[in-house]
């Protein structure tokens, strides 16, 4: 059995995320995005690769959308309403609430402003969203008898989730976009330790390592503050959801602290409406915001007002959030046309702009003129600030996640090819995990896990349930352990290596039993198989040397003749094999199953080699042991044969 991953989008690129994964006959489409950089057929994933006949209902078990960004959900109305997919679609509550806003906003930009032929209508969006089943975080959803899915917090935007899918014994995670560090309004991604065969992860920042966020936030606030105090206007082109709220929390807070009175505007009612969604969905935000909502909802902005078109050319400073982001058209571009020619003004751009947008042009080099189309050219004299913070994880975050989950295979998507190649090699060399970076329309096949099922007896289970704690000392810094970090350097693990017997009776299910139970099952008696050897040990009578010893070793006085040879043997053996746990039972000593006692018989059957020469000076110790301890026994015997026992 295998897992096949067909990459329909975001293979070695960013845009139109769409991966179709086939696990043991179940087929899941993760994300159904569109590419913002293309206007032709390339903007949508090539759905014909899923089913030539277009019978998507039978070809797919379900569709899962990770978050509301258009490159993850943009093609969904097209897929359901135009292509005709009618099966289940899963997304989180916030995604279900916010995705239609994004789609509608995009549709308007396409149709109303650019005058393009519409790919899907408002009704299509509404109809499409009706088919969506909303899920909560960690909710275990049984899609059908075999397929189970679960969402985990991804921290990228409100409601963004990583999805875990499980079919039989095979498990995988598709991350969507995620952030491993908390930001102003969202927490960090969170996931359980899982036993994964496959992890499909984004890799937007495959090679970037970022420092603390706070420095970059300060820088942003400084630039904005400087601009407005110089009487300039600040344009923040952004999508209505996500970044807008994050920056707004940041600015609102800063305005409050610095007691600034310069107005902050939101273009269109869209963002205001979006804020209302954010208020209801507050349980999906960061811990800090969640804790304070009942006294003050963080999305009740004090300094934010609605923007009216007439204010565009009004004098005086202001800050304006305008959609869409990346200056790809619409209102933000219109405002940009008005404000760009003045060097007092400021435009902030997100960390990433799709190729083909005005934002992308502004970022590449420092153009003074931008051609909008054949007839329009804009003089760009305003300042441009690129936001250095992003809701995507950096390379360290990706490595941390991969290491934490330790899947058997990793597929990288949603990134740039050269960077992905280097990350792929890192994952392979540092973590020893197979990693792939397929291009669009490629399929990656990896083997999947299976388990053999067997029954287990109660006795065996009980034997398993005893913990087996082992303490490890971390190898690093062994020499200079001080008390303080001693605790951290000791790791406790509960490793349970178990042993038993698996029995397969003809035409019955295999069963695991404890070895003691086996004989009962078979109706047999145990036959004990042991080794024995009566070992001669040289002794020296020290009576004549007594006086010298007495003088030199006073302390040895106590070792009088009252002590038996067995005890003397015990002391000597414990010197020779310090690791052995020698137990004394008076008449005999025992080390594991090795049993030794003084043999006073004249002829012991196990005294095989009778060495007459040494007889006078030898004592015999009869030893008996069972097969598993053969190695140990032979070691002890060889020590015993070399010993010279003596007592004072």
């Amino acid at each position: 059995m295998a897992i096949d991953s067909l990459i329909l989008g975001a293979g070695q690129e960013v845009g139109k995320s769409c991966v179709v994964v086939t696990i043991n006959g179940k087929r899941i489409m993760f994300d159904c995005g569109m590419h913002m950089g293309y206007l032709d057929h390339r903007r949508y994933p090539d759905f014909s690769l899923i089913s030539k006949s277009g019978d998507f209902d039978n070809a797919l078990t379900c569709v899962i959308i990770t978050h509301f960004h258009l490159d993850h959900v943009g093609a969904l109305p097209y897929f359901t309403e135009v292509c005709g997919y009618r099966g289940p679609i899963y997304m989180t509550y916030p995604t279900k609430a916010l995705a239609p806003l994004m789609l509608e906003d995009y549709r308007k930009v396409m149709v109303d402003r650019r005058g393009e032929e519409e790919q899907f209508s408002s009704d299509h969006i509404a109809e499409c969203m009706k088919k969506v089943i909303a899920v909560d975080l960690k909710q275990t959803v049984q899609v059908d008898n075999d397929l189970q899915i679960r969402a985990y917090y991804a921290g990228h935007v409100l409601g963004a989730a990583m999805f875990h899918a499980k079919v039989g014994d095979t498990e995988m995670v598709y991350t969507g976009d995620y952030n491993m560090t908390p930001d102003r309004h969202l927490g960090a991604a969170q996931i359980d330790r899982l036993r994964l065969d496959l992890l499909i992860t984004e890799s937007t920042y495959a090679t970037t390592i970022r420092d603390s966020k706070y420095g970059r936030e300060r820088e942003f606030l400084k630039v904005v503050h400087k601009c407005v105090s110089g009487g300039g206007k600040v344009l923040i082109p952004t999508f209505a959801l996500g970044r807008a709220q994050e920056l707004c929390i940041l600015l609102d807070d800063y305005w409050e602290r610095m007691n600034l009175k310069v107005p902050i505007y939101f273009s269109a009612g869209l963002t205001i409406q979006a804020n209302m969604y954010y208020k209801m969905l507050i349980s999906w935000t960061s811990q800090k915001i969640k804790e304070t909502y009942s006294t003050h909802n963080a999305f009740d902005f004090k300094n934010v007002h609605d923007f009216e078109r007439s204010l565009m050319d009004a004098p005086g400073p202001c800050v304006l959030f305008a959609t869409p982001g990346m200056l790809s058209g619409g209102f933000s571009l219109e405002v940009f046309k008005h404000w760009a020619p003045s060097e007092r003004n400021l435009v902030t751009l997100p960390g990433y702009c799709v190729a083909g947008t005005v934002g992308h042009k502004l970022m590449s080099g420092k153009p003074t003129k931008i051609d909008l189309d054949k007839d329009t050219q804009i003089d760009v004299r305003c300042q441009i600030h690129q936001l250095a913070f992003s809701p995507h994880t950096d390379a360290k975050g990706i490595m941390d996640l991969v290491k934490f989950l330790s899947p058997k295979h990793v597929i990288l998507v949603h990134g740039e090819k050269p960077k992905m190649v280097s990350l792929k090699e890192r994952i392979h060399s540092e973590l020893g995990i197979m990693c792939y970076d397929p291009a669009n329309n490629d399929t990656v096949s990896i083997p999947s896990t299976h388990y053999v099922k067997a029954g287990a007896s109660d006795t065996f289970i009980q034997g398993c349930s005893n913990p087996n704690f082992k303490f490890y000392r971390n190898s690093a810094g062994d020499s200079d352990l001080n008390d303080k970090n001693f605790m951290q350097d000791v790791q406790v693990k509960d490793e349970r290596v178990i042993e038993g017997v698996i029995v397969k009776e003809k035409s019955q299910k295999a069963k695991v039993v404890h070895q003691d139970e086996l004989l009962v099952m078979l109706g047999e008696n145990r036959h004990e198989l042991q080794f024995a050897y009566c070992c001669p040990v040289q002794i020296i009578d020290l009576k004549e040397m007594k006086s010298t010893y007495l003088n030199s070793r006073n302390s040895m006085l106590c070792l009088s003749e009252n002590f038996s040879w067995l005890q003397v043997l015990q002391w000597r053996l414990s010197d020779e094999i310090p690791e052995g746990n020698i137990q004394s039972y008076g008449e005999h000593l025992q080390i594991e199953s090795f049993h030794v006692s003084l043999c006073l018989k004249d002829s012991c059957p196990y005294r095989v080699q009778d060495n007459h020469q040494n007889r006078m000076k030898s004592m015999f110790f009869c030893c008996i042991w069972s097969a598993p301890d053969e190695k140990l026994a032979r070691k002890i015997l060889s020590i015993m044969e070399k010993l010279n026992l003596s007592k004072i």
Binding site: Q139, V452, A454, I461, C464, V497, I498, H527, Q530
Partner: protein
């Protein structure tokens, strides 16, 4: 599996409480408090004149009390002391430290939890849905803050054991009150406890593990626990517990019809082996209907006898649900119209409810009705936690019913109260004496305020104010004796309306539900047996349980399932036994117990396929075969003749390689002796080959 019903509870506010012994774990379902027992206490008196001074006229007081036994039950019979709270009577008989898991199915089932968590030795893992946890916490906080009234009036607790709980004092109580204190059979005295503190509540919340909807958690790696909505209240749930040997579904009081909480998800419970049915509510509703109407002229309860035509497959869509839905709406409509009439006549309406569903719906419907009839009447919610409660309700779309969720998706507020507060139609204040209330207080008005027992909270003050006004209206919940509850406020001129709201499944739906779920075993209350006979069902067996009895349910699966990784399984050395039917192999691997399953994986230090000899042998070796095996290896052996040993065992001795080695072969044991290690191991091989072993 052992199941003990500790208490069958009593209505919405006092859910049942059970103990389950399962898979070696002890699981407690819910930890409620019988708040209706609070009615035996007197509310805090308004003036000192109405309260006899116990210190000065001790003697008269006692004699007065002695006479009281003969007197009819009156306001003076109520206990005047700081109240204690009545917990589940037999719970304190269990060793708290031995409870492994506590599952809380509703906010009401949580109210007694701090009594446990504050005890020494408490170490259970508590699971509760996040919504139940938050609502439960608010209810407990409210309880603690309302209880302060008593503390302030009676002073701090001096000794451990209150006067009124003493045997002599209990003797003097009127029989009605004594029954509440001691229970019908006089065994419930041990359940009374002094209330927990705010710190206890906080501590209890920290000890609770909050779950998302249908989140799967694993206790000890082996019990997989999941919560699915039951429809009764926001956050209330039914539990599925999967263990290697048995799957259990615990059905708490559930309802198909809910105007606020996410509805009963019974589909998720389908196909589970064992059902514990724990909803006694249908029994209680029946009982209530009988003795109704003799005290209160008006009742909104319209329990019609509906035909039992519910097809098992379309339970949720059945006509019964439509009827129930309609019935609920009619009931609420009736209450609203009563309220409207009341305010039109210049009276005020008091709703002492703690049922969120009722509160939210009445709030929405009454405000709509007032608006449509162009009435300007203020609505107040007075409670120490109302602010937080209302804020919370608007941020949990995940736990609301479909209609409310649709509001989220279309960008509307989840409940109307947000808008009502904004438009200043609804005033939310923490207490009757808060300045915000005093400045905009207007009568007539409509007030929602705790507590439903009418013994503490803002409701006491308002009831005293309005009880004499025949134009005013009091809307009560069901589930307690209104006669006793209103005793301190006698004589009552105001109108009283007591309504039955759904607090569980309707009788007619129980059987179709259970049949739909396709169980093998059903644990069912004995008390419901006369109404619902499941015994004619063929597809499952029924065990009836009663309060305080332990039910033993036999196990069905005889073994747990082990999952062995294929790479480990491929390393097995299968060995065919001399008993032809058996193939056996030694098994060694690293065990991991997680996600409710036993997995066996290839261990880290495991050598892949080193040849190992058997460690366990059975049977008796044939000496001739052994000699043959030895000679095959090139070892000569000679049998020492005629030695039969002492203990009934026949022992043969074989000398090997001219007395370099010796084999002593018995029926139960064999001893190999050789000084040379390699010779010994060769002999071992030979013996091994003539024995069965592993």
């Amino acid at each position: 599996m052992k199941f003990t019903c500790l208490s069958k509870g009593g209505g919405f506010h006092f859910p049942p409480c059970h103990m389950l012994n399962f898979c070696g774990f002890r699981i407690l379902f819910d930890c409620p408090v019988d708040l209706s027992a609070l009615t035996i206490f007197s509310p805090v008196p308004t003036g000192f004149d109405s309260f006899p001074d116990e210190e000065s006229c001790d003697f008269e007081f006692v004699t007065e009390k002695r006479q009281k036994v003969e007197k009819p039950l009156g306001a003076n019979s109520l206990i005047r002391a700081e109240p204690w709270y009545k917990t589940v009577k037999s719970l304190h008989l269990w060793n708290i430290s031995q409870i492994d898991v506590i599952l809380i199915s509703s906010p009401m089932g949580m109210l007694g939890l701090p009594f446990l968590t504050r005890m020494k030795g408490f170490s259970s893992k508590v699971y509760v849905t996040e919504a139940s946890a938050r609502l439960g916490q608010l209810m407990m906080d409210d309880l603690v803050s309302m209880h302060v009234e008593f503390r302030q009036f009676y002073g701090c607790e001096d000794s451990g054991f209150p006067q009124w709980l003493r045997h002599e004092e209990l003797e003097l109580l009127p029989p009605e009150l004594r029954e509440v204190v001691l229970g019908k059979d006089g065994t419930e005295l041990g359940g009374w406890m002094p209330l927990y503190s705010a710190a206890d509540v906080k501590d209890c919340m920290q000890k609770s593990h909050k779950l998302k909807y249908a989140e799967e958690v694993y206790y000890n790696g082996i019990l997989a626990i999941k919560a699915f909505s039951s429809g009764l209240e926001i956050g209330s749930c039914n539990w599925i517990i999967n263990a290697p040997k048995r799957d259990i579904v615990y059905i708490s009081s559930s309802t198909f019809v809910s105007a606020h909480a996410m509805t009963f998800n019974y589909c998720a419970l389908q196909g589970i082996n064992t059902i514990i049915y724990s909803d006694f509510s249908s029994l209680r509703v029946m009982g209530d209907v009988e003795d109704e109407n003799n005290y209160f002229p008006q009742t909104a309860d319209k329990l019609s006898s509906l035909s039992n035509d519910c097809s098992s497959q379309e339970l949720a869509e059945s006509s019964l649900n439509m009827d129930e839905h309609l019935e609920e709406r009619e009931k609420l409509g009736f209450i609203c119209s009563c309220a409207l009439e009341c305010v039109k006549a210049g009276g005020s309406v008091l709703v002492p409810t703690n049922r969120l569903g009722t509160l939210l719906q009445l709030l929405e419907q009454i405000s709509a009705l007032l608006e449509s009839s162009a009435m300007e009447v203020s609505i107040y919610i007075i409670s120490s936690v109302a602010d937080e409660l209302l804020a919370f309700l608007n941020v949990i779309p995940e736990w609301l019913c479909k209609q409310r969720q649709e509001r989220l998706f279309s960008g509307e507020q989840l409940f109307a109260h947000v808008e009502l507060i904004r438009r200043k139609k609804l005033h939310v204040v923490p207490a009757v004496h808060s300045s915000k209330l005093l400045t905009n207080w207007q009568e007539p008005c409509i007030v929602f305020s705790p507590h439903w027992t009418m013994r503490f909270g803002p409701v006491v003050h308002l009831l005293r104010r309005w009880c004499g006004n025949p134009n005013s209206l009091l809307i009560l919940e069901d589930g307690f004796d209104p006669k006793l509850a209103l005793l301190p406020f006698e004589p009552i001129a105001m109108k009283v309306l007591q309504c039955v709201f759904p607090s569980g499944l309707k009788l007619q739906k129980v059987e179709p539900l259970i049949k739909t779920l396709l169980p093998k075993i059903v644990l069912f209350p004995e008390d419901l047996k006369p109404q619902i006979s499941l015994s004619n069902a063929k597809s499952f067996s029924v065990f009836h349980y009663t309060e305080d009895d332990t039910l033993h349910v036999p196990c069905q699966k005889d073994s747990s399932v082990f999952e062995i990784a294929t790479d480990l399984a491929s390393q097995f050395h299968w060995k065919k036994l001399m008993q032809e039917n058996f193939n056996i192999s030694r098994l060694k691997g690293e065990l991991s117990i997680d996600h409710g399953k036993y997995h066996l994986l290839v261990g880290k230090e495991q050598g892949s396929s080193s040849k190992h000899s058997s460690l366990l042998h059975w049977g008796s070796p044939d000496v001739q075969k052994l000699l043959a095996a030895l000679s095959k290896m090139g070892i000569n052996g000679s049998l020492e003749q005629g030695i039969s040993d002492t203990e009934s065992e026949t022992v043969h001795v074989v000398h090997v390689q001219d007395y370099k080695g010796l084999i002593k072969v018995g029926t139960r044991s064999t001893v190999i002796s050789a000084a040379d290690e390699s010779l010994a191991s060769l002999i071992f091989e030979a013996v091994d080959s003539v024995l069965d072993g592993i």
